[in-house]
């Protein structure tokens, strides 16, 4: 009897398992951008995977109009920098992707295009118009093929406290050399405040924050063959200058940097336009990062791009409709409307619009920086590269390693990575 009961149980279990796994595959709704039936079709669902914060919020605010017009419902995932990268990459290997439109940091471009993560927008009929700042599109293409569209004009700028700059005897327009930064930091520090803030946290944060200093010293992180160059005299001079500035201030995370500059606890820090939206009467504002070491130096491009781009996942099941959404989001009118919510379009007509500038004068600075920025190296290994370099730099900044030891260790590890 027991045997029979056991057999019966085993059969029930096998049947249950079979039933669980053998369900009918749910049919994906067809792309309804061109409905063929007379009955109103069920709305198509698009899934957007975006960077959390202002970058994604401006897109979310623009969606209702598109949804109503195209019989679409959009589901949005707001994610942190690392989670966004992981989720896009993890889904990319699936035949049928879970995401349609994705937000991509410029530094992931090489890795994503090399591994077929993104759809070729040129093949789908997309092209850039002349209003888009040309320099911001450089990271969006491979050869002549477009894979991404520059949506949010993130570029490093100098965040400053108006009162503390004035107390140091400077007008924002006068800050045009790194010697000026040091002078302001020293005077502010002598007055009992923090002179210059550097960004701590992940390796990418540390490296990105440092790059303008490296650029003004004529250095770079890789050579023309993408081999690391982090143990060079230029790199060491730039790093020493960066540490000297840090000693007149502190290291903080993004939120604390913005708060410290805004509440007058610190004078200067490098920032991104997406962090803070200054108005005419706010305590803080942006100016361009100085382009020279001192008055005798020649000007260089020192602003680093961190443009947030949008693209279509190559395994999206709704590519045509997603392209329509991408075009809608890149439309000058949609982008102009995003500015009130903190958006920073990569369009000249939006950034230099008279009404916009009257309300947000700092966008003229951003426009200038977007025209002459520098991209991080387009290498597949960039995420690992910044992990290694950022960790060693952090050890030097915190004094647990000497500069020679830290940079030599970084150079060795990076050479192995780029081998």
């Amino acid at each position: 009897m027991k045997k029979l009961f056991a057999l019966l149980l085993a059969m029930v279990m096998v049947l249950s398992l079979t039933a669980c796994g053998g369900g009918k595959k749910e049919e994906k709704p067809a792309d309804t951008s061109t409905p063929t039936t007379e009955q109103p079709a069920a709305p198509t669902k698009l899934t957007l995977i975006l960077r959390g914060g202002t970058y994604g919020e401006v897109i979310k605010a623009a969606l209702p109009a598109f949804e109503a017009e195209n019989n679409v419902t959009c589901e949005v995932l707001d994610l942190s920098f690392d989670d966004l990268h992981s989720k896009i990459a993890l889904d990319a290997v699936n035949k049928e992707g879970a995401y349609d439109l994705c937000m991509v940091d410029g530094s992931w471009m090489a890795e994503f295009t090399a591994n077929n993560v993104l759809a070729n927008l040129s093949e789908m009929g997309y092209s850039f118009d002349d209003d888009i700042i040309e320099a911001t599109t450089a990271i969006c293409t491979v050869g002549d093929d477009i894979y991404l569209a520059p949506y949010f004009g993130n570029v490093t700028v100098m965040l400053y406290n108006k009162q503390l700059i004035a107390d140091a005897g400077y007008e924002p327009a006068d800050i045009d050399t790194f010697a000026d930064l040091m002078e302001i930091a020293k005077k502010t520090n002598a007055a009992g405040k923090k002179g210059f803030l550097i960004r701590g946290g992940s390796g990418d944060n540390i490296v990105s924050d440092f790059i303008p200093h490296l650029l003004v010293h004529g250095g770079w992180v890789v050579d023309e063959n993408n081999q690391p160059t982090v143990n060079t005299p230029e790199f060491k001079a730039a790093f020493q200058n960066y540490i000297d500035l840090y000693k007149l201030g502190a290291t903080m995370d993004k939120d604390d940097i913005v708060a410290a500059i805004d509440n007058g606890d610190a004078a200067l820090a490098q920032g991104w336009p997406g962090w803070y939206v200054p108005s005419a009467d706010s305590n803080a504002n942006y100016t361009v990062i100085p382009t020279k070491l001192d008055d005798s130096d020649a000007a260089k491009n020192t602003s680093m791009y961190g443009v947030w781009t949008i693209g279509i996942c190559n395994n999206s099941q709704n590519k045509e409709l997603t392209l329509k959404l991408l075009e809608y989001l890149m439309d000058p009118e949609t982008q102009l409307a995003s500015i009130d919510l903190g958006g920073v379009p990569c369009r000249t007509s939006c950034l230099l619009n008279k009404d916009v500038l009257a309300k947000y004068p700092h966008l003229e600075t951003v426009h200038g920086a977007l025209q002459a920025g520098v991209y991080r190296p387009v290498i597949e290994e960039w995420a690992e590269f910044t992990n290694i370099l950022g960790t060693e730099m952090d050890a030097v900044i915190q004094g647990t390693k000497t500069m020679d030891d830290g940079l030599a260790a970084a150079q060795t590890a990076l050479e192995k990575l780029m081998k």
Binding site: A92, N115, S202, T251, A260, N387, D394, T400
Partner: protein, 299 residues
Amino acid sequence: MKSTALRSNRAPHLGERTFPRLMLAPTLVVMAVLTAYPLIFTFFYSFTNYNYLKHANKASDFILFENYIDLLQDGYFRQAVLNTIKFTLLAVVLEVLLGLLVAVFINSLKRGQKVMRTLILLPYLLPAVTVALSWRMMLSPNYGIINQFLEGLGLPVYNWFMDTKTAFGTVLLIDVWQNIPFVFLLLYASLQSVSHDQYEAARIDGAGVVQQFFYVTLPNIKNGLALCTLLRIIDTFRLFEKVNILTGGGPAGTTSTITQYLYTYGIKNLNFGFGSAGAIVMTLLVLILSSFYIKRAIQ
């Protein structure tokens, strides 16, 4: 007649062996699928250079012990291992001692036990991410209430998570704060089962409060205490969310734990081969740490 008697003797014997095995089979299948397969998968990939994205359409290379050699040669991994062991020892000792203290105190209350029990459990009910973000706000060097309070008292203030002198201790404090309630809950349940007769007998024999604690309370809850310690060791060893949100392993690797290291150098970059090697090393360390209890449980 004889054969019938034999059959009737053998039938229950076979059933007694087969029936439990059949009943165990579903559990064993589920365990094999959910535990053994991932473990074998992880072990296998730890000998490869498998990158989730790069090797989606092509095979990864078998690189023998290269991942393990890289791990053990990396000073930051060794630092992460030391940090993890140091953190686990300090956190578990503090959590168990303070949790026991709270449990004994609450258990001794004549009134208000239920209210206190609920209030003390609150931190444990919060997700680790919420706890980390709340503490980050409270400890902000700009707008944090703790620095403002210290300033008000004329005491020095710190950049808690960005200073090598304070970051480790701050993360430890937050973890201890959140996990004391877990220890309290387990030990409080053990304390509830201790017979009052034993205390009464001890008192009649002239035992004081301290003697009652060491000769009645502790022997009665020692199993609960051991289980609690083991669970906390395993959980603390895997500490990740708080470190990742609050410090990202910095400054200068002072708060880096093994899981944080594996995330930064393996998982985040989709280098699952390297990450798998780290996971195997970590599993071995946890097994060594918990072997005492497991051995005892098997005996």
